[in-house]
Symmetry: C2
C-alpha cells in the first residue's frame, strides 16, 4: 500500500476552459439545470475514475460565455496533466472545450491569487438583429454615440469604489477594484450594401475591460450605463457623480448576460 | 374591379436576408428538410395573405451562412415595401432576419444582373476548438503559414477560367470569372494566457473574397487549396499550374460549409 500511494500522489491540475454559455445555467452547480462545472465534474470523474470536483476562478452567470475561464481540481490519476485536455475534450459536449491543462503547485488557488481578468461585451448596434452573432452579442437598435461612451468609460479606469456598479452580496464588503483599461472598438461593415442598410447603428461594438477583479454583475452594469450615455439619456460626466454616490440605483440597468464573454485570466 | 386592380398593383420587392445556416438544408426549397427560401415563402405568404415565392440571388448550400443574401418576390399587397422587413422579422425564427426591404423595378432579377459578391471563410487555427465560433468557422489544428496562403491567393486574383476550382454542373459551361480581391486576415489573441496556450495555430483566419460571381463550391475549393498551401502540402506557385490545367482533381478538397458566409451582394 505504501508503494501504491507513492505511484498515485495527489496532484493539482489547472484547466483553461472555453464555453458557449447559451445552454448552461452558469458555471456553478445548481439543483435545477446543467452547469459548466457540473458537466466538467461528470466527465472528469468518468475519465479519471474517481470523484472530481472542479473549483472555478470565475463563477459566470447563466448565458455568459468564456474563452479562458480557469478551473483546478485534485486527482490521484496517473494520466499526465497535459494529456487531460485531449482526453477530456473527446468526451465533453462541443459547447465546452478545454484549451490547456497543466499541473500547478498544490497551494495554487484560482480565486485567491492576484489576477488580471479581461472581459468583452459585444453590442450589435443596427436596425435589425444579425442571426450569426445573436447568441454572443446584445442587439441594441437605438443610435449610439461611441465617442460619448468612450468619454464616460474614462471615468471608470483606475482604482475606485464600485458600489454603484455592482449587485451587492452580503459576503463581499470591499467594493474597491482597479480597472486597468476599458476600450470600446467598433467594427462596421464598409461595403456599399452596408451603408445602404444601416439607417441607424454603427455595427458591432466591443467593450473590452481589464481589471484586477470584478464585483457581481459589475461588467454588465458598466455596459448598461455606457448604453445610457451612448443613447443620450445620460451625460458622460455623470459617471463620476455615480461613482462617488456609491448608490446602485443611479447607474444603468444590468445589460443582458449573453453579450458577455470572459476572455481570460492572467495570474500575476 | 377596375378600381381594385388599380389599388393592388403588383410590385417587386427586394429583401436583404441574413441567416444562420446551421439548421437549414440550404437556401433552396428541398423535398426533405427546412430551407431558408421555404421559410421565407411560408411567413411572407401568411403575412401578405397570398402565395409568395422568393427568388434568391445565391442558392447557398446547407450550413452556409449569410449576412446579405438577396431575394425578390412579387406581391399585390398594399403594405409599403419598406415596412415588410419589420413585419416579417416579427414572424421569422430568430436565425433568419431581414436587413432591408424595398421596392425595385419589375424587371430587376437578382441573379442575372451584374454584381459584386463578397464571401468570408473563417478558419479557427488553434490546438483546440473554440465553442462560441464553432458553428461559424472551420476548426483546423495543423500549423498554417499565412504568408504562403497569401502568395498562393495572389495567383487567383483577376479573370481566369476556374474549372479546376469548381464542382462542375452540366448547365454551367462558362467557367471564366473575375476575382477582384482575395484577402487573408488574422486575428490573434494577444493576451499573456493566449501565448501560453497556443502551442500551434495563429488564431482566427478570415479569407475574404470578392468577385463578379462564383461557380458551384468555388470559394470552398479555393479555401481547401489555400489550406494545403498553408499546411505545406502544396507550393504557392502550384496554384498557377492548377488554374492552367483546368482539372478539378488537382486542387484541394472542398472546405466544409459551416465556415462560409455570404457577406453581401452589390448590384452594379
Amino acid at each position: 500500500m505504501h508503494l501504491r500511494w507513492r505511484l498515485n500522489e495527489v496532484k493539482r491540475v489547472k484547466l483553461i476552459v472555453a464555453y458557449d454559455g447559451t445552454n448552461y445555467c452558469g458555471w456553478q452547480v445548481q439543483p435545477n439545470g446543467i452547469s459548466v462545472a457540473g458537466t466538467l465534474n461528470q466527465h472528469l470523474s468518468e475519465l479519471l475514475n474517481e470523484d472530481i470536483y472542479v473549483l472555478g476562478a470565475s463563477r459566470t452567470d447563466a448565458g455568459v460565455h468564456a474563452r479562458g475561464n480557469v478551473a483546478v481540481f485534485d486527482t490521484e490519476a496517473r494520466m499526465p496533466a497535459d494529456r487531460i485536455s485531449y482526453a477530456l475534450n473527446a468526451r465533453l459536449p462541443e459547447d465546452i472545450r478545454i484549451q490547456d491543462s497543466r499541473e500547478v503547485p498544490p497551494d495554487f488557488h484560482p480565486r485567491f491569487a492576484k489576477t488580471r481578468k479581461t472581459y468583452e461585451y459585444k453590442i450589435w448596434n443596427r436596425r435589425f438583429p444579425e442571426p450569426c452573432t445573436r447568441l454572443y452579442s446584445l442587439f441594441y437598435h437605438w443610435n449610439l454615440d461611441v465617442e460619448r461612451m468612450r468619454r464616460a468609460a474614462a471615468y471608470l479606469v483606475g482604482t475606485h469604489d464600485f458600489t454603484s456598479f455592482c449587485t451587492s452580496k452580503p459576503e463581499v464588503t470591499n467594493h474597491v477594484r482597479t480597472i486597468y483599461s476599458l476600450e470600446i472598438d467598433v467594427q462596421g461593415e464598409t461595403m456599399e450594401y452596408g451603408r445602404e442598410i444601416c439607417g441607424n447603428g454603427v455595427g458591432m461594438i466591443t467593450v473590452r475591460i481589464c481589471g484586477n477583479g470584478f464585483l457581481y454583475n459589475m461588467v454588465r452594469i458598466i455596459v448598461g450605463t455606457l448604453l445610457k450615455v451612448g443613447g443620450g439619456m445620460m451625460e458622460p460626466e455623470e459617471v463620476q457623480t455615480i461613482l462617488e454616490a456609491k448608490d446602485r440605483s443611479l447607474a444603468g440597468d444590468t445589460a443582458q448576460a449573453h453579450g458577455l464573454t470572459l476572455v481570460g485570466i492572467e495570474y500575476l
